[in-house]
Subunit: 164 residues, 2 copies
Amino acid sequence: MSTPDEVDEVVAAWQRERPDVDVSAMHVLSRISRLARHLDRARKQAFATHGLETWEFDVLSALRRAGKPYQLSPGRLVAETMVTSGTMTNRVDRLVERGFVERRADPDDRRGVRVCLTASGRRTVDAALVELLEHEREILSALDPTRAAQVADALRTLTRSVRS
Amino acid sequence: MSTPDEVDEVVAAWQRERPDVDVSAMHVLSRISRLARHLDRARKQAFATHGLETWEFDVLSALRRAGKPYQLSPGRLVAETMVTSGTMTNRVDRLVERGFVERRADPDDRRGVRVCLTASGRRTVDAALVELLEHEREILSALDPTRAAQVADALRTLTRSVRS
DNA sequence: CCAAACAATCTCGACATCAAGATTCTTGAC
DNA sequence: GTCAAGAATCTTGATGTCGAGATTGTTTGG
């Protein structure tokens, strides 16, 4: 292994204090959690250039990648972004204020709503995506492509494991 | 690759909508973020058995693994847990209320404070650790040990990459 | 066709977090 | 010794999220 990091120190400390417990799982799982927090910060930085918050990008990008006509129900957005329905109501409200989305009635279900990306929202999210990926490729360049693919595959397996 | 997951769908959608952008970095980085959120939920579940919140465990475990006499400064706890100083003040307040820690004056620096784990706090965090690791080993069992070690190593590399 | 179960969205209050700044104390240069 | 710079902690106000429940509309079994 290369230079020790924070997680190596945490694991070493636990082994000293609790030699009766096998903490080796932390080498993978704690590292994922900590790395995710670092990635959040990096993303926040990347979006700041475009005056976007991370949560705004999360919603706008879900609409963008849905393809034309760039509209999804709040429920669908909840599923895509892993937040609660109350949170999504709040997010959509603020995105409407900023002029990035519009709320329209669902013609087929009077309970339903469609959240639609505006032209302004689309331009913004398109630019932010490019910026984000430049940063992400930079970060990921620390891994050669073969290894990156192996890691992606392992993470896919883990995701299935934790969800069941 | 095994069965496609949410990230595979997201990447495929982006490739359809933005064929001009290379989104392959998401296979690793988005998966890390999403997996971290799933892990948070799993941890929350594990701690609920012991009446602990995740943030409580984060603080108590930092104190516990520091070893005897189980005390650290707020500043040190901030560094260990990746939160701001204001957050830590609040957390320590509430842990004092629950009787899991005590605040004592630092004898060498009158600005300083030492946050000390109580016997009750120690019992609780020790039990929660065992529970947490049982769950984590279960999740990680989806990967054979060799692969897990490779992933840990790659994540260590990525952490260094994102921090610089 | 009615009632009950179900579904989609929104409302509301509690709560945890952050960022910036205030407070109190320490240290080092002169 | 004193003063300015720095350090450790706490305070405050704004913000975003969650969870539970309310509202409105749809579906289905009898």
